[in-house]
């Protein structure tokens, strides 16, 4: 029987009605479907926060990990079990705040996986505090005078860190999002899809309307070449990061291709019984 969306349905969601995350999850589920994947071939590794619940609400293999820690876990899942399509997912606090260190290294390490960030520019689950991507001047209980910190610019950060695929989507454009996530999953390396995913409860600045009015589709830019990193920086700066589409894409060998004798079949399913010939050879080094 053919796999349908129903197979990808997990637990009942507790996201607020209208939450941008519905669109992101739908984008992931439909991208998997479009790629002909079955739920047991997909692993969604999530962080903590509203966004982290994606591994609960969609049905596939999943690991709901810790705040900011989805990326190390996800990279290892891929390396240990290479037959899986691995998607890490979390929010802006998760990826660009408490997990920013892991993010920069995952980007340069270039393990073949996809990272979908649900960027609502606020801490939702803890009730509305300022997040790393909250715009400078953002007023909340943790920045009552307006945030004095310049916001993290996810696309610039990803490019600077060496990500080989950098895209940005918008929850209000699910069709576009499905394609972006599918492209990211096809990319043989670390692929970031930053998604503007409005928090309808707490963020009254970066709303659906805000993005509809301000976001520029990269496909509408004349002669845009996503393999040109300098052009990518220029356009990101010109539009203050308010772009959607594939911003940058580079053909770069994934991490595992640099590993000596990396097995072609998933390590998780290979025989681990000791081979006495190999052990004897290893032991001889101590003789």
């Amino acid at each position: 029987m053919a796999v349908t969306l129903k197979d990808y349905r997990g637990d009942v969601s507790t996201w607020c009605p209208g939450c941008g995350h519905f669109g992101v999850m739908s984008g992931i589920q439909k991208a998997c479907l479009n790629l002909g994947l079955e739920p047991h071939e997909v692993a969604v590794i999530s962080g903590i926060g509203c966004s982290g619940k994606v591994s609960e609400y969609m049905r596939s293999y999943g690991f709901h990990t810790l705040h900011g820690r989805s990326l190390p876990v996800a990279q290892a899942v891929k390396l240990a079990n290479s037959g899986l399509k691995v998607i890490a997912s979390g929010g802006d606090g998760d990826g660009y705040g408490i997990g920013a260190g892991h993010f920069t290294h995952a980007a340069r390490r270039n393990v073949d996986m996809t990272y979908v960030v649900m960027d609502n520019r606020v801490y939702g689950l803890t009730k509305g505090q300022t997040s790393p991507t909250s715009m400078q001047g953002y007023v909340s209980n943790t920045s009552p005078e307006g945030s004095g910190e310049r916001e993290v610019k996810p696309l610039e950060l990803a490019l600077g860190a060496g990500a080989s695929f950098v895209a940005q989507g918008f929850s209000g454009d699910i069709k576009g999002l499905i394609d972006l996530i599918a492209e990211a999953m096809k990319h043989p390396g670390f692929a970031l899809v930053n998604v503007f995913s409005p928090c309808v409860t707490y963020n009254k600045i970066n709303t659906y309307d805000f993005y509809r009015e301000n976001i520029v589709d990269i496909n509408d830019l004349e002669d845009y070449d996503p393999s040109d990193k300098a052009a990518a920086y220029a356009k990101i700066i010109e539009h203050d990061g308010l772009l959607k589409g594939i911003v940058y894409k580079q053909e770069r060998p994934a991490y595992h291709t640099y590993l000596k004798d990396y097995p072609e079949t998933p390590i998780a399913f290979n025989d681990i019984e000791p081979d006495s010939q190999v052990l004897d050879e290893l032991w001889s080094a101590f003789k």
Partner: protein, 580 residues
């Protein structure tokens, strides 16, 4: 004839002290001697006094000895630093560019010679330490020919001329001292043995490979880095992967990820890294993910003593993390045990689906001991616990696989991502049987009982009795980790003096295994716990678990250096006289 000898080379870091020590230790091991060694070093790349101490014996030993029979002092500092620990009548080979002479000083025969000049005569300064080894071997009463197999193995691929240079250097040093007309030691060569020479780090890493470990992720840290280096080099040979993580936390997180994904995985670290990994220990515990964590203890807290020894992480290994975390903590005590205990650790991690922490320490991690050649049948056969096959999963036919099924023994069947019938979410949040978030009090209670109760049936011999025939003794020593080496000898010496003592070497730190140990403690008149930390963490654990009371006394040292036998004997002399 002598059946045992001790030797030391001292100099500045970067002067090849380590490799010189290793050449001698390996050669003596190849001759059939049993070796215990000790390296002293500082947290810098070049400069600073360092030494390498070797004890070679006909009988099994795990302690490097208190005194030195032959000292090679490459500088004045090495002489001053080490002369106090010389055996009476020992030899010192003193690098002296100004003057060649032999003198009796500090109870030793001090041979002033310039190995540097001799090396220059041979046309290569790099050969200096080999000349000193030639002199050394004469003073031991052995012939420099015994170095040839190792010299050829090390240098032949770089050309015969390099082999010849090294052999000439050995000969030059040998003949130099021979011509002085001194009476050397007469060290007897033992029967050849099927054995090898390695560190605890190497032994654990080799054991892990033999036990089916196929993933390691870690961050460089003294004194655990060698484990990662070994795995980077050797895991690919068995189809595995080692990753250098961006930080300590990621080191464990990745290992947890690989464990979840179905691969036997581990990380290696020391105290500062262990502190950082705490969060991920909780993750492994609550998500019931098998993973092995090696913690090679060094002096703490904070950055502490990066290159010095301590056993101060016992409490953190047992208690680290918020909430209640199921875990097992093992403590090997010799290099050989590091190797075989790896198979226990990986089996327990999968059987109980929890983190298994292996407590090493700097002395055990970095110092080489001889170890009989590995025997495949001494590794526990690989047992992956309740891991289901695709067929078993198909039979269950669950749309949402109950990864956290409530079972009688608290251990749930496990599926590997990629298996068709096992789709589930592992979770660090409290969860239902299918792995979905829940805050329902009843489920929470059931899951806590399951996760923490699953270790209740855990039973393992928690200690090794070291002494003559296991029986309750008058004075029972208790220790864990590398103190075993010196305590073995303390016990032997006291028993030879007519005392009734033994050592209970603790191998399982958590969950505490009282069986047998309780009887030994109850039967003893005094219990002396010997440990290297300030607060007496092992003593505290024994008091908590067994209420030993006032007959427990603690001998502690936390200077960064391990105990010598003399120190322990001095510290316990009074305690032994006290009638309890």
């Amino acid at each position: 004839m002598k059946s045992e000898i001790t030797w030391k080379i001292g100099g500045q870091q970067g002067e090849g002290i380590d490799s010189t020590g290793e050449i001698l230790a390996t050669t003596l091991m190849q001759q059939g001697f049993q070796i215990a060694s000790y390296k002293h070093f500082a947290s810098r790349i070049k400069g600073g006094h360092t030494y390498y101490h070797i004890r070679a014996s006909h009988t099994p030993i795990h302690y490097q000895g208190d005194t030195t029979d032959i000292l090679v002092a490459l500088d004045k500092e090495s002489y001053e630093h080490n002369i106090g620990a010389m055996s009476s009548g020992g030899f010192v080979l003193m690098e002296n560019k100004k003057e060649e002479k032999v003198e009796e000083a500090d109870g030793c025969t001090v041979i002033h010679a310039s190995f540097t000049k001799m090396a220059e005569e041979l046309g290569n300064k790099i050969i200096r330490n080999m000349i000193a080894l030639g002199s050394t071997i004469y003073l031991m009463g052995l012939h420099y020919d015994i170095f040839k197999p190792l010299v050829e193995r090390k240098f032949l691929r770089k050309g015969q001329s390099l082999v010849d240079l090294n052999v000439n250097a050995l000969k030059k040093g040998y003949e130099y001292v021979q011509n002085l007309g001194l009476t050397p030691y007469k060290l007897e060569t033992p029967q050849p043995k099927q054995q090898a020479l390695l560190t605890g780090n190497e032994a654990f890493a080799f054991g892990a490979v033999a036990s089916g470990c196929r993933f390691l992720s870690a961050y460089p840290i003294t004194p655990a880095s060698e484990i990662m280096e070994y795995m980077k080099k050797n895991l690919p040979k068995v189809g595995g992967v080692a990753v250098q993580a961006e930080d300590e936390l990621a080191g464990l997180l990745m290992a947890v990820g690989a464990g979840y994904a179905g691969v036997r995985s581990m990380t290696s670290t020391s105290g500062p890294g262990f502190s950082l990994k705490t969060e991920a220990i909780g993750l492994a515990g609550v998500s019931e993910t098998p993973v092995v964590i090696v913690n090679s203890q060094r002096g703490g807290p904070g950055t502490g003593l990066p290159t010095k020894y301590e056993q101060g992480d016992l409490n953190t290994m047992i208690y680290a993390g918020h909430g209640d975390i199921p875990r097992i903590v093992l403590a090997p005590s010799t290099v050989e045990e590091c190797m075989y205990m790896a198979s226990t650790a990986f089996n327990l991690a999968e059987k109980y689906q929890c983190p298994v922490i292996v407590a090493l320490d700097l002395v055990l991690s970095l110092n080489k001991q001889t170890c009989p050649d590995y025997q495949a049948d001494r590794f526990e056969p690989i047992d992956r616990g309740k891991l289901l096959t695709e067929e078993q999963l198909a039979e269950l036919d669950e749309f949402r696989f109950k990864r956290y099924r409530l079972t009688e023994d608290g251990i749930s069947p496990r599926a590997i991502p990629g298996q068709k019938g096992g789709v589930h979410t592992a979770n660090s949040n409290e969860h239902s049987e299918t792995g979905h978030i829940t805050e329902e009090p009843e489920i929470r209670t059931a899951m806590m009982n399951k996760r923490l109760g699953k270790l209740q049936p855990f039973k393992m011999k928690g200690y090794e009795f070291i002494g003559q025939d296991e029986h309750p003794v008058e004075t029972l020593f208790i220790g864990f980790g590398s103190t075993r080496g010196v305590l073995e000898e303390v016990v032997n010496e006291l028993n030879a003096q007519g005392e009734d003592t033994a050592l209970a070497q603790i191998k399982v730190l958590y969950p505490f295994q009282a069986e047998g140990l309780k009887e030994l403690i109850d039967g003893a008149r005094r219990v002396i716990v010997v440990e290297n930390n300030w607060s007496g963490q092992l003593s505290g654990m024994l008091q908590k678990e067994l209420q030993v009371g006032s007959k427990l006394q603690t001998v502690k040292k936390y200077s960064g250096d391990p105990f010598t036998k003399t120190e322990i004997l001095e510290q316990i002399a009074q305690k032994m006289k006290e009638v309890v």
